[in-house]
């Protein structure tokens, strides 16, 4: 039995009905699974379908359980493990507030530029940067901004989508 713990990014399509998020979160907390990040939003208004992206970690056996447990929830349509299923894109958005002046202000703009962060708010004592990218990139920026006066961070958590011409909706839920 492998005991190696790996990080997985999983997309879950669910009926957008009351309690569905509580069901998913309750599943993770009740069974002691990890949630590193979780995002949710409606993606298909007409059919009232939401997409939940969850980043979790566990041994292969646990990951398999997590996916089976998610699939078993009645309002769940599709569970797709991007980490397993191949090439995909992962993105996260962060809003970062840095309060500083003088040399540090210039430096923060320079870093923002390198990482292609945008200034979305500014006062003479602060900036709010918007940055999009893989989690590692966001973390790098946050690390560099910290000594410059970073005072607040707001992050979306990861969203993911498979590369190529196939839609997640062509997958089938089997339970």
């Amino acid at each position: 039995m492998e005991e190696e713990v790996n990080k997985h990014t999983i997309s879950v399509l669910v009926d957008n009905e009351t309690g569905v998020l509580a069901r998913v979160i309750g599943l993770f907390s009740g069974r002691g699974y990890n949630i590193e990040s979780l995002t949710v939003a409606e993606v298909d208004k007409r059919n009232s379908v939401s997409r939940i992206t969850v980043v979790t970690s566990g041994t292969p056996m646990i990951i398999e359980q997590i996916k089976a447990q998610l699939s078993r929830l009645v309002p769940v349509h599709i569970v797709s493990d991007h980490t397993e299923e191949g090439p995909h894109v992962e993105r996260e958005l962060a809003l970062i507030k840095v309060a500083c002046s003088g040399e540090k202000r210039v430096e923060s703009l320079r870093i923002a530029d390198i990482f292609r962060a945008r200034v979305v708010d500014s006062t003479n004592r602060s900036f709010v940067f918007e940055i999009t990218g893989a989690t590692e990139k966001l973390e790098a920026v946050i690390k560099l901004m910290t000594p410059l006066g970073l005072i607040e961070v707001s992050r979306t958590g990861v969203v993911a989508i498979a590369r190529g011409d196939q839609s997640i909706a062509s997958g089938n839920k089997s339970i």
């Binding site: 009351t18 309690g19 069901r23 309750g26 056996m61 359980q65 929830l73 089997s174 339970i175």
Partner: protein
């Protein structure tokens, strides 16, 4: 006529009738009074008034387990709903189809801490297969039909539908007919051909095989039991059952080697340990069955047939998982086996059986008889002898008596043994027996009970008497929470902390106070007489069998130990001290 406006309450009853429901178990209260009023004005559905809502769920479980149909519960909001939580959890753990209708405060008061408001969907979310809060009377019929579908399809389980009072009073046109499909929820029932191919190949090549079968066989229906019986007989392999699987294969068949697991037989556990092919059929490798995981059946290939992917590779990695319905997959295997004119390895099997017969020679269920004190095993053996020719339905409470019942009652058919396996809910047996008796009015229904467990839902005697249900309650009264005392013997040097059943009622008088019949046996030679009298009585009976206070249930695999580390009797106990790891296990 079809376009007539119905009230929500009328729609509820119409759905029940359309679903073929003719009996529900419930208890009234303010939030569900509209439904009770509608019930009053019709005769299609019979309502059984329990004495506590917890009893209603167990009764519905007994009804469901003994018929294969959905058990239905109706309770009020707040305390009515919270009282169902244990029963719902029980039904979830044991995969029992139950639809539980709970009243709720009117929609505009939800969230207001209104009188008798509880967040029922919030509370029951983790203890149901699914739950619903109906927010519009227009959704009511669809949601209720869906609830029945979800409860009974795939791996069955409990479903709660929370019904705000204003919805019950609002009006709508009833249009939805019985629905059989859900938007997204569709269990997989059939195996892939290559899986069947591989399964047949493994079965044909096995030298030391075993069928390990569980509750999924019962869930799948009587046909699954017949197919299992056929396959076991065709192959000549030994078969062991889990507690939940008892009756799925005929107990008197020579290929049946008893229950396995913590209190299973020596031969079943050693066969599991030593087999080279394990065919798990509707069984979920529960910790009570596997013992120490790292030493569970170390040398075997494992096939697992299960309808629920979460049951596969959860505790034990299997080599050939087959997701599907037991009945359907077994039929596929049998068909392929016959078409291919396959044969089991008879020579190897002969050797394997010789080994198993040798293990059986240990006579692991034997106990020391006494002339003066009734041994609990003896009482059950006599009960079995008196009833084995009849089509008897057994329910149990939880404890040593439950394990002895599993060991000493040879069950011939599925749906005859109703017990709380996964949750181990004391107080399950009496209300479950009531549900079974409602479903099978002329059958013999016996609750094998302990004196502590029976007190947990003793109020349901009143229900049994009101509806003249001749359930038989056979109490093995050892004046101890015997199962607890046994663990205290084994793990805590006999410090019997709070496990003595003090201030017990006089069960004979207690029975009489409910206008039932009370009987007592105190000596071994009184047992037969009391059983005969019980069986001859066409009313509810409580039999108080005063048994040995100190008898322990063997064999036993101490928690954290492996199948080959069984304790066979009281003298065995010092041999294998329970590991530290085992001490933390339940």
């Amino acid at each position: 006529m079809d376009d007539a406006q119905l009230t929500g309450s009328e729609i509820v009853l119409k759905v029940l009738v359309d679903q073929g429901v003719d009996v529900i178990f419930g208890y009234p209260g303010g939030a569900v009074l509209p439904i009770y009023d509608a019930l009053y004005q019709q005769d299609a559905i019979r309502h059984i008034l329990v004495r506590q809502e917890g009893g209603a769920v167990h009764a519905a479980e007994g009804y469901a387990r003994s018929t294969g149909r959905v058990g239905v519960v109706l309770v009020t909001s707040g305390p009515g709903a919270t009282n169902t939580v244990t029963g719902l959890t029980d039904a979830l753990m044991d995969s029992i189809p139950v639809v539980c209708l709970t009243g709720q405060v009117p929609t505009h008061l939800i969230g207001n801490d209104a009188f008798q408001e509880a967040d029922t969907t919030g509370i029951t979310r983790p203890c149901t297969k699914h739950n619903y809060l109906v927010k519009s009377v227009d959704d009511l019929a669809r949601v209720l039909h869906e609830a029945f579908y979800v409860a009974s399809s795939g791996r069955p389980g409990p479903v709660v539908v929370d019904l705000p009072k204003d919805i019950l009073q609002a009006e709508a046109v009833y249009t939805t007919s019985r629905q059989t499909r859900h938007k997204t929820y569709r269990p997989k029932l059939k195996a892939e051909p290559d899986q069947i191919e591989e399964a047949v190949r493994l079965i044909a090549g096995a030298k030391r095989p075993i069928f390990y079968t569980g509750g999924g066989v019962i869930n799948s229906g009587p046909r699954a039991s017949r197919l299992l019986t056929r396959l076991v007989r065709m192959t000549g392999f030994p078969c062991t059952n889990t507690l939940m699987g008892l009756g799925g294969f005929p107990g008197s068949d020579p290929r049946f080697i008893g229950m396995l697991g913590m209190h299973g037989t020596y031969e079943a556990n050693l066969a599991m340990y030593n087999c080279d092919l394990m065919i798990a059929v509707g069984a979920r490798f529960d910790d009570r069955v596997t013992g120490k995981i790292s030493e569970f059946s170390p040398g075997s290939k494992k096939i697992q047939i299960d309808i629920d992917p979460t049951s596969i590779n959860k505790n034990v990695m299997v080599d050939l998982p087959i997701i599907g319905d037991v009945g359907i997959v077994l039929r596929q295997i049998i068909k392929r086996w016959e078409e291919g004119q396959c044969r089991a390895d008879e020579k190897a099997l002969g050797k394997w059986w010789k080994q198993i017969r040798a293990w059986q020679g240990r006579d692991c269920l034997s106990y020391e008889m006494s002339d003066t004190i009734i041994k609990p095993q003896f009482a059950l053996q006599r009960l079995y002898e008196h009833t084995k020719k009849r089509d008897v339905y057994i329910t149990t409470e939880v404890g040593q008596h439950q394990m002895w019942a599993a060991q000493f009652f040879k069950l011939e058919k599925p749906k005859r043994f109703m017990t709380s396996g996964g949750l181990g809910t004391m107080g399950y047996g009496l209300p479950a027996a009531i549900g079974v008796q409602i479903a099978h009015p002329d059958a013999l229904v016996i609750d094998i009970a302990g004196e502590a467990s029976i007190l947990m839902n003793i109020q349901e005697m009143s229900t049994a008497c009101q509806y003249r249900l001749p359930v038989k309650i056979f109490i093995l009264n050892n004046q101890y929470m015997g199962m607890i005392r046994q663990w205290q013997d084994l793990l805590y040097d006999g410090r019997y902390s709070e496990s003595y059943s003090a201030s017990l009622p006089d069960f004979v008088k207690l029975a009489e106070s409910f206008s039932a019949v009370g009987l007592r046996a105190e000596k071994p030679d009184e047992v037969d007489g009391v059983i005969s009298e019980m069986l001859a009585t066409d009313r509810p009976v409580i039999v108080d069998v005063v048994v040995d206070q100190m008898e322990n249930c063997f064999p036993m695999i101490p928690s954290g130990a492996a199948h080959n580390e069984m304790l066979l009797g009281p003298d065995d106990k010092t041999k294998t001290p329970v590991s530290e790891e085992g001490m933390v296990l339940v």
